[in-house]
């Protein structure tokens, strides 16, 4: 068993055991509280540039199941208390360790993940490195910044996934989309054309889609000024549904502002309250930024976080657009808000 270190930008060092690929890596350290769904987490491209730490101590129990992948594995490194050497599931193909080795991603285990989670909770998200020898100084770690995240994970060229019985055609702008968004749309009779993030509004409208889906994705939403401008041009011309980063970009396009949260919402247990009905739903979340509620223009808050009151969804009736900060497509997490896809479909029905 090889030693490895987790070095935080504030200088604290945690010694653990290496697993996964034997390389060093620097990233932004975030924690997720989901108790299962590590496969979906590892393959969620919204984690691009980030070192993901699991607060649940036993990871890899049911191995790696490729059918459950949400995209490519874009995490910078993986931090766990314990990984499972003998996974057990009828669909399991390999261990987390082998998967990370294939992807060239380092992992560290035997770490007091709870202590580090509390550190992040108190001091905010910070950069960190996983290394096999201690670095001479923290300069490289401190300088690290996630840049051009969307560019890195978006589709390189458009492609179309047909619905079995096509009722609508949806263009999905891929900022790092989770596959389950596509599955949910296709299941509802939508043929989905996935287009790269840099696609222009004119190109999209030329194909005359029934609706446009703005996907989730990584990074600071404000970094995507080109995409925001294109979204602004789409508004009002076609029904739009935004999820996570897509939600933030839509808000920015319509004049609102976003801010970085101290340590974000990442997990499968976040309560969101629907303002129109008063119903509260348990949602899956993965975001470090949020729309500042007070800055919303042309729209009204449709969902708020029942814990901290932050913006979880906006409805723009004039634009026939709506968006949510959480993940109705789940994977991992609860499917309780999947009805939002139905709402998108009804909007396309007119």
């Amino acid at each position: 068993m090889k030693k490895a270190y987790l070095v935080l930008e504030n200088g604290t060092v945690w010694e653990g055991t290496a697993f996964g690929a034997e390389t060093d890596s620097i990233g932004e350290l975030v924690f997720t509280t989901g108790m299962n769904g590590y496969i979906e987490t590892l393959t969620d491209e919204s984690y691009y540039g980030q070192i993901v730490m699991q607060t649940f101590p036993l990871i890899g129990n049911y191995g790696i199941i490729p059918a459950d992948f949400e995209g490519n594995c874009s995490v910078k490194a993986y931090v766990v208390r314990e990984w499972c050497r003998h996974p057990s599931n009828f669909r399991a193909e390999e261990t987390v360790d082998r998967f990370l080795k294939q992807k060239g991603i380092p992992g560290i285990s035997g770490i007091d993940t709870r202590a580090i989670t509390k550190l992040i909770r108190e001091q905010g998200v910070m950069n960190a490195a996983i290394c096999h020898t201690l670095p001479a100084d923290l300069a490289a770690i401190r300088q690290y910044k996630i840049t051009r995240a969307v560019e890195a994970v978006t589709a390189k060229a458009p492609y179309t996934l047909p619905a079995e019985k096509e009722r609508f055609r949806v263009t999905l702008i891929d900022y790092g989309a989770k596959h389950n968004i596509l599955r949910e749309l296709i299941r509802r009779g939508c043929t989905v054309t996935v287009v790269p993030a840099e696609t222009t509004a004119e190109q999209i409208l030329a194909a005359k889609p029934d609706g446009v889906m703005l996907s989730n994705g990584p990074g600071d939403p404000a970094d995507n000024s080109a995409q925001i401008a294109q979204i602004a041009k789409l508004c009002g011309k076609v029904p739009i549904f935004g999820i996570c980063l897509g939600h933030q970009l839509l808000a920015l396009a319509l004049g609102a502002k976003t801010e970085k949260l101290k340590y974000g919402h990442r997990g499968s247990n976040q309560p969101v309250k629907e303002t129109a009905t008063g119903r509260t739903y348990i949602s899956s979340q993965n975001h470090g930024y949020a729309v500042v509620s007070e800055t919303i223009r042309n729209g009204r808050l449709s969902f708020i976080n029942a814990n901290d009151g932050t913006c979880e969804g906006i409805d723009y009736p004039e634009q026939n657009a709506f968006s949510v900060q959480f993940h109705p497509e789940a994977a991992a997490g609860p499917h309780d808000t999947a009805f939002l896809f139905d709402q998108f479909v009804s909007r396309m029905e007119g």
Partner: protein, 1065 residues
């Protein structure tokens, strides 16, 4: 929706006595409910026949009725109290069933009482088998498919629809004889034919065979607005087939991928939404490990044992939130106490693993089948919280108090391990571990047991580790061992290391959110991290006192001890101490996160407790309220310089060491039954001869104590000694003079100067029946003033001589007008809650104050014998023989009851009637205009006494039935009696039971090993027909008195213990 202002007065129905399947968890749930209701300003009327509960405490409800939990009595209380609402979902199945009866016969509607929480229709849909199946079908949730067939062809067709494999269950055959599993049509043809032949009505049930499927549970909540959450998932270590109460359970589910998890979570929420549940609900599923196929096994529309476990496992108080929802609140309006910032409409995220381990009563029932199946057998459970499954399991096993601190347990028989693996019994975990250590592969074990490989490989980790350290210990290995959960003593033993470096534990907090938010409730579990949240937790600066709890509920150590522990905590808190509690029982109030100032959910073993002491540095530790679990730590703590509050370790030893205690009695000229220790048959016979028959024989250091026996002659001594000696003994066998006298019990409080005796209890049964199994009457009914004075004097002398500071329980025997001491226990006893409730002396409160230095005079509750109130209070035992059908139910020196009920009345008979009714000992009697008969079969020794009893029953209009010898005696007294052939010889007695001619049985004489099976068979039959069966003449006599007194459930006085008349008799 905020609080429903129309709810002003609510009746809460408790769950009654502790029985297998319904234990302390309902006191935890009920106590939470009462507190929530009172906080909301609602007037609370409580009914519960169980006096040992915290919920029946004066402060927790406004009107409290310790009355029988029957529909009749509850109706009378409702009419008297006129509440506007009834809360039914917190009193287990008992409470729910009564509420449903009241609803069904229109009583609630007629009296304008509404059922709050889940409504009757929804409860019905979940509880009624047919409705449940239909409802699940209508919402598309799969149940285990099954269908009825009356011929082979239909069976084949049905099987085709259901899908193979199928199990065939013939209708109306005992134990499913004639059934079997078919994997294809060819096999089914044969099996169906055999099954149809075996069934008296030529009918079989063809059911999908789901052997080896995983068993998964979800604890869910729904409010009236339709918000739904899944609080916690749980996974059984054992596959489907073993009752979840008898299975090792982990939380959260550990082997499910997100797809499987979400599928079952969504199904749970779908089900509770469709049923319209309002409050907590438990959903159980079977999941095919080879596909996404699943089936709903059961839905419990109420709080349950699983919800108590889930509450403790997550920090989410399900019963409390359920009550708030019943009052009208929605989940998003209710704050999460643990964080103080977030709301109750969320799903807890755990960053640890929880392991539950059952506590079984097999030590009390030697010879009983240890096989586990769909009928629960465990009396209680322990829970452990840890960073890994291995550590959690190790903590749970050593906390279960089964004499183990690792998974290495000697097998109970000499069958090869490969054969034992196939048996689902209480030893299975240890058999699996033994198999792994012997080199059998996890895959092979999984094939036989269907236990998931995930768990088996974790056990393999432990086996591998033990193999590695058997060659010697290193620092690194030691660290690893501690993380796997091994205590130092076990590591020394396994590695042969003389000395170990030692490692302090650090503690993490259970915070519902995986550290995402700051937690404000100090609820801790031990880990080995470098950061200790317990040490970092802000302290008030007040002196710290640590209270040790009583561990899992078991026969002999039940909920009474939790009652005492909790009261001690409350008193000490009110006195300005910072109180820490240590316990590992998830069912209890003591392990509620807001009972003490800090809660440590840890096993009660020397090392675990010492680790906490290092953090908390208490000024004193209280051992007196945690039963034997806490008392047995006294010596260790004392030797380690920890100050014991209350009676000193020295005083405790003085009472427990036989020789020292004898010397003490001698000094005060107090008698105790004469006795001797013997090692050989000759010595035993000699001692018995000298003492005079009958004598009580028992091994010293009784483990399980099943070998305690009253013998009447040399032949019986010989048989007993031969059997005991054959097993080989390390310690002498004790031979005591057995005196069939009156048995009395006294709970005493002393501050070292003065002595307070709240009450003396007299047992209905003469000595020979364990005090926990006897009916106890307070105050005594046949003791004269002189003897009472003598008892008071003796009690005072003993309490002072032992240096008692706090409680002491003394058991006496009166034989031929002489007083003898049988036993002295320098700690809280089983009877504390009962006596506290009827005498108005808060005994634990007083004792706790005394322990911290206050005097009885300062407290002002008087000294000497407390005045007797104008009521009788009768405690009756309750057994769980319905669940343990093959055990010997004959009452003797070894305790067998799992719970108790109380009856309060103006006369002894009225109290007795209520207690017997509450305990379910009702019978058809001639008073009801029914034909009734009593069947008497007594031992030769009892013939002399049987006649007056027979006369009493005959006078009451009972027909008499008796076996040969007894019939002779009765006939000799001039009574007409019908002779019944011995059970061994014919089915005559069974036929009479079935035909309804016999309505009560008195049977003594099952003391011989050769006849015990007869009694078990008779008792089982009686149980099936709900015919009471007594094994003591005294109990039968009391019952006759009861019948004679003509009390019914309509004419007793309903006693509100919060408004007891105070005038002394």
């Amino acid at each position: 929706m905020p609080l429903n202002k129309q709810i002003k007065k609510v009746m809460v129905i408790g769950s009654g006595p502790i029985v297998i399947g319904q234990a302390a968890e309902f006191d935890y749930a009920g106590a939470q409910a009462c507190r929530v209701l009172k906080e909301a300003g609602v007037n609370v009327v409580l009914v519960n026949s169980n006096p040992a509960t915290i919920m029946t405490d004066k402060a927790l409800a406004d009107e409290i009725y310790l009355e029988p939990l029957t529909e009749e009595t509850v109706k009378r209380i409702l009419l008297k109290e006129k509440p506007d609402s009834l809360l039914a979902g917190l009193g287990g199945q008992t409470g729910l069933t009564i509420a449903m009866q009241l609803d069904k016969d229109g009583f609630l509607a007629q009296n304008g009482i509404r059922l709050i929480g889940t409504n009757a229709e929804a409860i019905d849909k979940a509880e009624d088998r047919r409705l449940f199946k239909e409802t699940m079908q209508s919402i598309g949730e799969p149940t285990i498919p099954s269908d009825i067939a009356n011929d082979v062809k239909t069976a084949l067709d049905k099987a085709e629809q259901i899908g193979y494999p199928v199990i065939v269950r013939p209708a109306f055959t005992l134990g499913g004889a004639g059934g079997g599993v078919a994997y294809n049509a060819e096999e089914l043809e044969g099996i169906a034919k055999t099954g149809l032949d075996a069934s008296p009505i030529t009918q079989i049930l063809v059911e999908k065979y789901i052997f080896g499927w995983k068993e998964i549970e979800f604890e869910t909540m729904r409010d009236d607005a339709g918000n739904v959450i899944a609080v916690c998932s749980m996974e059984n270590f054992d596959p489907v087939g073993v009752h979840t109460g008898d299975s090792i359970v982990v939380a959260p589910a550990l082997t499910l991928s997100d797809k499987e998890y979400q599928m079952l979570r969504s199904a749970s929420l779908h089900i509770i939404s469709a049923l319209g549940i309002v409050g907590g609900c438990n959903c159980q599923f079977a999941l095919n490990p080879e596909s996404f196929e699943y089936a709903v096994i059961e839905v419990n529309p109420r709080v349950s044992r699983s919800s108590a476990l889930a509450s403790k496992a997550t920090g989410y108080p399900i019963a409390k939130i359920t009550t708030k929802i019943a009052l009208g609140y929605t989940l998003d309006e209710i704050p999460n106490d643990i964080t103080g910032k977030t709301c109750a409409c969320f799903e807890p995220a755990l960053d640890y693993v929880v392991v539950k381990f059952p506590k079984w009563p097999f030590d009390k029932f030697a010879g009983a089948s240890r096989a586990l199946g769909t009928q629960m057998k465990a009396t209680g459970e322990v829970m452990a919280i840890a960073e890994s499954f291995e550590e959690g399991l190790m903590k749970a096993v050593r906390g279960a108090e089964i004499g183990l601190d690792t998974l290495n347990a000697a097998p109970l028989d000499d069958l090869p391990v490969s054969e034992r693996l196939a048996m689902a019994d209480d030893r299975r975990l240890f058999t699996v571990f033994e198999a792994l250590k012997s080199g059998i592969s996890p895959e092979e074990i999984a094939r036989i047991t269907k236990i998931d490989l995930f768990f088996l490989y974790k056990l393999q980790n432990l086996a591998d580790y033990e193999n590695r350290i058997s060659c010697g210990m290193t620092e690194a290995l030691y660290q690893e061992g501690k993380k796997l959960g091994y205590p130092d003593e076990a590591l020394k033993r396994l590695s042969g290391a003389g000395d170990l470096p030692g490692m302090d534990a650090s503690y993490n907090m259970v915070d519902t959110c995986g550290a995402e938010f700051d937690a404000v409730t100090p609820y801790f579990y031990s880990t080995h991290g470098r950061i200790c949240e317990a040490r970092a937790f802000p302290r008030s600066g007040k002196p710290v006192i640590m209270v040790l709890g009583s561990g899992p509920i078991r026969i002999g150590q039940g909920i009474e001890f939790d009652y005492s522990s909790v009261h001690c905590v409350w008193t000490l808190k009110s006195m300005g101490y910072d109180v820490v509690i240590v316990n590992n029982n998830p069912e209890t109030v003591s392990t509620d996160y807001d009972t003490a100032d800090r809660l440590y959910f840890e096993p009660l073993t020397p090392e675990d407790v010492m680790n906490i002491i290092k953090v908390e540095k208490p000024v004193g530790v209280v051992v007196a309220f945690g039963g034997q679990t806490a008392i047995k730590l006294t010596k260790f703590l004392d030797q380690n310089g920890v100050s014991i509050l209350g009676t000193s370790a020295e005083g405790i030893d003085l009472a427990e060491d036989r020789e020292r205690f004898d010397a003490l009695l001698e000094r005060f000229s107090i008698k105790r039954p004469k006795g001797a220790g013997v090692n050989t048959l000759k010595e035993a016979l000699c001692a018995a001869e000298m003492l005079g028959y009958p004598v009580l024989l028992r091994p010293s250091y009784v483990i399980g104590g099943q070998n305690m026996k009253i013998v009447h002659d040399a032949k019986e001594v010989r048989m007993y000694m031969e059997r005991i000696l054959a097993q080989g003994i390390d310690n002498p066998v004790l031979v005591d003079k057995y005196m069939a006298g009156k048995e009395l019990e006294v709970d005493v409080i002393s501050d070292g100067q003065d002595v307070l005796i709240p009450g003396i209890m007299q047992h209905i049964e003469r000595a020979g029946v364990h005090s926990g199994d006897s009916i106890a009457v307070y105050p005594p009914y046949s003791i004269d003033e002189g003897m009472t004075r003598h008892i008071v004097e003796c009690s005072e002398k003993l309490a002072l001589a032992l240096g008692t500071k706090g409680l002491v329980n003394i058991q006496y025997l009166i034989y031929q007008d002489e007083l003898y001491v049988i036993e002295v226990n320098p700690r809280a006893s089983r009877t504390i809650p009962y006596i506290s409730k009827v005498t108005d002396i808060p005994m634990v409160d007083v004792a706790s104050r005394v322990m911290t230095g206050q005097t009885l005079r300062e407290i002002g509750c008087g000294t000497g014998l407390h005045p007797i109130p104008p009521y009788y209070a009768v405690k009756a035992p309750v057994f769980s023989f319905e669940k343990l059908t093959d055990v010997n139910a004959y009452l003797g020196p070894e305790m067998k009851s799992t719970g108790e009920v109380l009856g309060i009345g103006k006369t002894r008979e009225e109290a007795l009637f209520k207690a017997m009714t509450a305990a379910g000992m009702t019978l058809r009697s001639p008073h009801g205009g029914e034909e009734a008969g009593v069947f008497i079969s007594v031992d030769t020794h009892d013939q002399a006494e049987v006649l007056p009893l027979a006369q009493k029953f005959a006078a009451l209009g009972f027909r008499l039935y008796a076996t040969e010898e007894t019939a002779g005696t009765i006939r000799g007294g001039g009574l007409s009696v019908r002779e019944v052939a011995g059970i061994r010889e014919s089915d005559h007695a069974f036929d009479l039971l079935e035909s309804g001619e016999i309505s009560v049985i008195l049977y003594t004489g099952a003391l011989m090993d050769s006849t015990v099976e007869d009694y078990i068979a008779l008792h089982r039959k009686a149980l099936l027909l709900s015919i009471p069966c007594f094994t003591s003449l005294d109990t039968a006599n009391a019952l006759a008195d009861c019948v004679q007194s003509r009390y019914t459930q309509q004419n007793t006085e309903l006693v509100n213990i919060n408004a007891l008349e105070k005038t002394a008799r």
